[in-house]
Amino acid sequence: MEFQFASLADFLAMDGHGIYVWIAYGVTAAALIALAVYPSLRRRQLQRELQRQQRIQQRRQQVESDRIKTAEPA
């Protein structure tokens, strides 16, 4: 088994078919990487959403307790 091309330029050119081969490989790689990365992006999104909800919850509890406090004296 040996490297089939004489030079790197040859390898990239592939007898004129390089453009097709490299586009095919490039797009495939991009698609597969997108598939692979998506879960961690989504996970980060979920984390941010969780933090947002927790903030909202805190505020709600705040508002609720304020309301009870103002309601009690009256």
């Binding site: 959403e49 909800q53 909202i56 919850q57 509890q61 609720e64």
Partner: protein, 224 residues
């Protein structure tokens, strides 16, 4: 106010809690409904009354706890329950393109029975008008006419049956409910209005509310 279970009870609910989109609406609900008994579910808007009724007829599956029909548990006994069920929901199941008479016939009534039922809900003269040309209350009455058919099933589950009815309609319906009870039928219904019915039991869903509210609600939508 859980009712003590009897062997004669048709429908038994034990420690039920229902969810909507994962959020628990109420928990720990138990009651039993026997023949000749009526039960009114009360509760604020959004308390989960509709969800409860839909759970009992098997149309909403997200619940915990036990539901028994004739002593055997859900979901095995669901087909039996459905055989003796008459359910009228917020959407009443009245086909706008049919006349009131045709609607009742479609629900399995004979022509004469249907005519008599329509007369009882005060739709005499409208039996051949298309339902899409009826007023809000009139089209609701078409659905309720099913309760006046002679072969009405044993268990009635009614979601806001009094909605959109005028005063005469309300009292007529109460009368028909009393008749059904006297024939040993059972009725489970929700209503925001008081219903005059002898021996009526009531459950207020507020007593079973769960406070998952604060951390659960909060849609992901914001203007902007």
């Amino acid at each position: 106010m859980p009712v003590t279970p009897e062997s004669q009870d048709l429908l038994q609910v034990r420690d039920l809690s229902c969810r909507r989109d994962g959020r628990r609406l109420f928990a720990g609900l138990s009651f039993a409904l026997g023949a000749g008994a009526a039960l009114q579910i009360e509760g604020a808007n959004g308390a989960g009354k509709t969800t409860l009724l839909r759970t009992l007829i098997g149309s909403a599956g997200d619940f915990d706890g036990r539901i028994l029909w004739g002593g055997s548990p859900f979901p095995q006994s669901l087909p039996q329950l459905r055989e003796s069920l008459l359910f009228i929901g917020h959407r009443a199941g009245v086909r706008a393109g049919l006349t009131p008479l045709e609607n009742l016939v479609w629900y399995g009534a004979g022509r004469d029975d249907a005519l008599r039922a329509l007369e009882q809900v005060d739709l005499f003269g409208f039996e051949d008008t298309l339902c899409q040309e009826l007023s809000a209350g009139q089209s609701r009455r078409v659905a309720l006419a099913r309760l006046y058919l002679p072969q009405a099933p044993r268990l009635w589950i009614l979601d806001e049956p009094l909605a959109a009815l005028d005063v005469a309609g309300v009292s007529s319906l109460q009368g028909q409910m009393a008749v059904h009870l006297s024939r040993s039928g059972s009725i489970l219904f929700t209503s925001h209005q008081p219903v005059a019915l002898a021996g009526l039991q009531r459950i207020d869903l507020a007593e079973y509310a769960v406070d998952e509210f604060a951390d659960e609600v909060g849609g992901a939508y914001a203007f902007g």
